[in-house]
């Protein structure tokens, strides 16, 4: 197996993980593919070193996450200036926009997870990104605030609101037991 074939096999082993990190942070397929490509090009430059390490998955994950965050910072800083000043009520539009999930799906099947991915993708960016960093990338609130350049209280509030929106949808999808959703207010925020 030559180096190119070796790299292709390596990429096929890790591409789903890298793509998942990118698409959940960016919420956009084209951008996620760009980030994946850049991540693997960087991996190719250091392939000889990377292939020897046990932590290659972590390295790829970190690079993909950093590139996705850089992408968000670079391309969305301007309109974020406007969009993050949206009045509170406009966030409710997100929930109204989502169609009710189909009732017939069995719990845990592929369609249900796809629906949940769609719900996640349609969260406002300023809620989705910190939520993904907390729950999927396992960063602390402090680290998220530092990486996004926002206050700790904003991170907590945004994640809380994202969780509330998701919890409602999860209940409707049967992924959470009805009535088990906690914290209607924001007692733990700020």
């Amino acid at each position: 197996m030559n180096e190119s074939e070796q790299f292709e096999a390596f990429m096929r082993d890790h591409q789903d993980m890298v793509y998942t990190v990118a698409i959940r942070l960016l919420g956009n397929d084209a951008d996620a593919q760009d980030v994946c490509q850049e991540t693997f090009l960087r991996a190719y430059d250091r392939f000889a070193e990377l292939i020897k390490t046990q932590t290659v998955g972590g390295w790829l994950r970190t690079v993909a996450r950093n590139l996705a965050l850089n992408h968000l910072t670079r391309y969305r800083a301007r309109w974020r200036f406007f969009s993050e000043m949206m009045p509170e009520g406009e966030e409710g539009q997100f929930e109204a926009d989502l169609a009710a999930p189909p009732e017939s799906n069995a719990p845990g099947d592929a369609d249900r997870w796809a629906d949940l991915e769609d719900v996640l993708r349609r969260l406002p960016e300023h809620q989705r990104v910190p939520l993904v960093l907390f729950h999927f990338e396992e960063l602390s609130y402090e680290e998220i605030a530092r990486r996004l350049g926002v206050s700790l209280s904003k991170v907590k509030t945004d994640i809380h609101r994202a969780r509330q929106s998701l919890a409602k949808k999860m209940e409707q999808m049967g992924l959470l037991a009805d009535g088990s959703r906690a914290a209607e207010g924001c007692g733990g925020c700020g």
């Binding site: 190119s4 790299f7 292709e8 990429m11 096929r12 591409q15 789903d16 993980m17 890298v18 793509y19 998942t20 698409i23 959940r24 397929d29 593919q33 994946c36 490509q37 693997f40 090009l41 190719y44 430059d45 250091r46 406007f82 000043m85 949206m86 009045p87 406009e90 845990g108 997870w113 949940l116 991915e117 729950h135 999927f136 809380h160 969780r163 509330q164 998701l166 919890a167 999860m170 992924l175 959470l176 088990s180 959703r181 906690a182 914290a183 209607e184 207010g185 924001c186 007692g187 733990g188 925020c189």
Partner: protein, 147 residues
């Protein structure tokens, strides 16, 4: 466990069960094409880490040497360097004169900037800019809300 922690646990449990997304089928092809395109480039147009070892050593040594030389010149050879540049015949002197003229022009422009009337013009421009930004933001938000 308070309600916020309970919500975090419940939502986190479901999110952890979400399977990884499947990457598009053509992603690997796209990356391999990009790799092949990069490999076709001459080595000096590729990433530094892809350069041959001798080129990396040469570049690293050269840049390091240049940095050391500049620092050393600044510390110990400032007067000597000026004399050397100044006495470097017609061309060196012309370059030195041009640098001095640029320095004087910069100093003069800086003094002009500090004139009170010019500061006033700048302040008015800044206020008008902020006004336009505020009006644009208000228009954007009102229009968006209407949509």
């Amino acid at each position: 466990m308070n309600p916020e922690q309970e919500l975090e646990r419940q939502v986190g449990d479901v999110l952890r069960r979400m399977p990884a997304r499947r990457a598009p089928a053509d992603l690997a092809v796209r990356v391999m094409e990009a790799v092949a395109a990069r490999q076709r480039l001459p080595w000096w147009r590729q990433a530094y880490w892809s350069w041959p070892a001798w080129a990396r050593a040469l570049m690293g040594g050269g840049l390091g040497g240049l940095a050391v030389a500049m620092v050393a010149l600044g510390f110990w050879g400032g007067g000597w360097a000026m004399e050397w540049v100044g006495g470097w015949g017609g061309r060196g002197a012309a370059v030195w004169n041009a640098i001095q003229l640029l320095g004087q022009a910069g100093t003069g422009a800086f003094r002009q900037i500090l004139q009170p009337w010019l500061l006033g013009v700048w302040a008015v421009s800044l206020v008008m800019y902020l006004f336009c930004l505020g009006a644009g933001t208000a228009y954007f938000r009102l229009t968006w809300r209407r949509i």
